[in-house]
């Protein structure tokens, strides 16, 4: 095989190869995006532990922490989570 013919073959490989790599990874990107859309996120670890903790901790801590402060933190956390989901 002469060099010109080899160069032509290299050109074909180049075109086919790059097109294929981009298409393959592009399809994978779509698959990952679909996964993100339809697979529910893990439940936050803190939420799962809360019920047990509340029984023990609720009474003493409530009397010490300012309810306004708790309200402010709660609303900040809710706003943050809303922003994250959007």
């Amino acid at each position: 095989m002469d060099i010109t013919e080899s160069l032509f073959q290299a050109m074909t490989l180049f075109g086919l190869g790059m097109t294929f790599v981009f298409s393959f990874l592009g399809l994978l990107m779509i698959a990952v995006k679909l996964m993100a859309k339809y697979i529910p996120a893990d439940a936050p670890v803190a939420n799962r532990r809360r019920p047990n903790k509340k029984v023990v901790d609720a009474t003493p801590s409530n009397s010490e922490i300012n309810p306004q402060l708790i309200a402010a933190i709660t609303s900040a956390v809710q706003q943050y989570r809303k922003a994250e989901t959007v």
Partner: protein, 376 residues
């Protein structure tokens, strides 16, 4: 007297020829690079030692019945060792950053430009007297641009076994030189303002997504590119063992003991191919030069793709992370982070660069599959 002559004939000194000595010196240089310069020591140390063993006259390490002969034929000619290493790499890889920002898959794809562009270089080298590369040789050399050792060894063992030694040495040497090769290219192609770009924090990725991801990759490879399933399949198996969380013992073995054991034999097997007749020629110089070109083009293509994506994307993308698309995990991601920190000491790009970095591993495995399917 006869006994003395016989004894003399059994010494190494009586049989040493210049090419053997040169190759032993090459082995010593590899040992020096591994020990003193810490260039990919896990591979270059056994490769260097294997090169010394393979070139000892009368020892018969690489003759039929010799240890290195069996190591090469059982583990490398069959492709088993690189595939086991790939399983370990899968078990070591966290795809979280990639799943959180899937656009970075395009950066991993763009960096494979180096592989396919180098095909031309290899063919053009045929104009130089003393160099003769067929299309299969060119494909095996070009994969150096993927900056992925096991993939390069796997492909070279299938397409051009006689060039395997030089290709493996070039691949691992350039991977060790990532912190020297990449930054000048990255700086040349980006403005200071671009290097300072801060990226949006990555979302948390659920465990289910991480478990389904390797299965989705495998499914796509089965459907579209079965030639790449040995590499991608083993990689996905390792990753699934890691993410499923139910086989921690297997995952730990794949990440540690197994990959370490196989690395020793892989290094020795590659070293056994560093014989004088196959290494001491002009073609080796050509392979080393083409490897550097492939690497540089891959880096540049990744950065340019990231610049383009930054122009059209809603979320800002720092072009530096494009350079991590050439695999070389995690060195290339660390380099992107380091160059980013030089521009803005508060901008940590490491996690963002891990996305294209692991995408590059997939990209080079897919590119290897394409080359195997079309040239092999």
């Amino acid at each position: 007297m006869d006994g003395l002559l016989k004894l003399w004939n059994d010494t190494g000194i009586a049989h040493f020829e210049l090419p053997d000595l040169v190759m032993i010196a090459v082995g010593c240089v590899l040992l020096y690079l591994a020990i003193a310069k810490k260039f990919e020591p896990l591979l270059l140390l056994p490769i260097g030692f294997g090169a010394i063993l393979a070139n000892i006259p009368n020892a018969g390490f690489t003759d039929e019945g010799g240890m290195l002969y069996y190591i090469y034929h059982i583990g490398i000619e069959t492709g088993v060792f690189p595939l086991i290493i790939f399983m370990g790499v899968g078990a070591l890889t966290d795809f979280g950053a990639l799943i959180a920002n899937p656009k970075t898959l395009f950066l991993g794809a763009a960096a494979q430009f180096g592989i396919f562009a180098t095909l031309f270089g290899a063919i053009l080298l045929n104009f130089i007297p003393g160099m003769e590369f067929s299309m299969t040789d060119a494909a095996a050399i070009a994969i150096i641009g993927g900056a992925d050792g096991p993939t390069a060894i796997f492909l070279a063992s299938k397409l051009a076994p006689e060039l395997l030694g030089a290709i493996a040495v070039a691949a691992y040497s350039y991977m060790a030189l990532v912190p020297l090769i990449q930054p000048p290219i990255m700086r040349a192609l980006t403005t200071p303002a671009e290097r300072e770009i801060k990226m949006k924090q990555l979302r948390p990725v659920s465990k289910k997504e991480k478990i389904i991801f390797p299965l989705a990759v495998l499914m796509m490879t089965i459907l579209f590119l079965p030639a790449a399933t040995p590499l991608v399949g083993m990689f996905c198996l390792g990753n699934l063992m890691r993410e499923s969380g139910v086989v921690d013992r297997l995952s730990s073995t794949a990440q540690n003991e197994l990959i370490n054991i196989v690395t020793i034999f892989l290094g020795l097997g590659v070293g056994s191919k560093l014989s004088a007749e196959s290494f001491l020629n002009l073609e080796t110089l050509g392979i080393l030069a083409l490897g550097a070109v492939a690497f540089s083009i891959g880096t540049a293509a990744g950065v340019i793709m990231a610049k383009l994506m930054n122009k059209f994307s809603d979320d800002p993308i720092n072009p530096l992370i494009g350079a991590a698309g050439v695999s070389a995990v995690p060195m290339a991601a660390r380099v992107a982070n380091k160059v980013g920190l030089e521009a803005n000491p508060h901008n940590f790009l490491l996690m963002h660069a891990m996305g294209p970095n692991v995408a590059g591993v997939l990209g080079s495995a897919v590119a290897a599959g394409v080359l195997l399917a079309l040239v092999g």
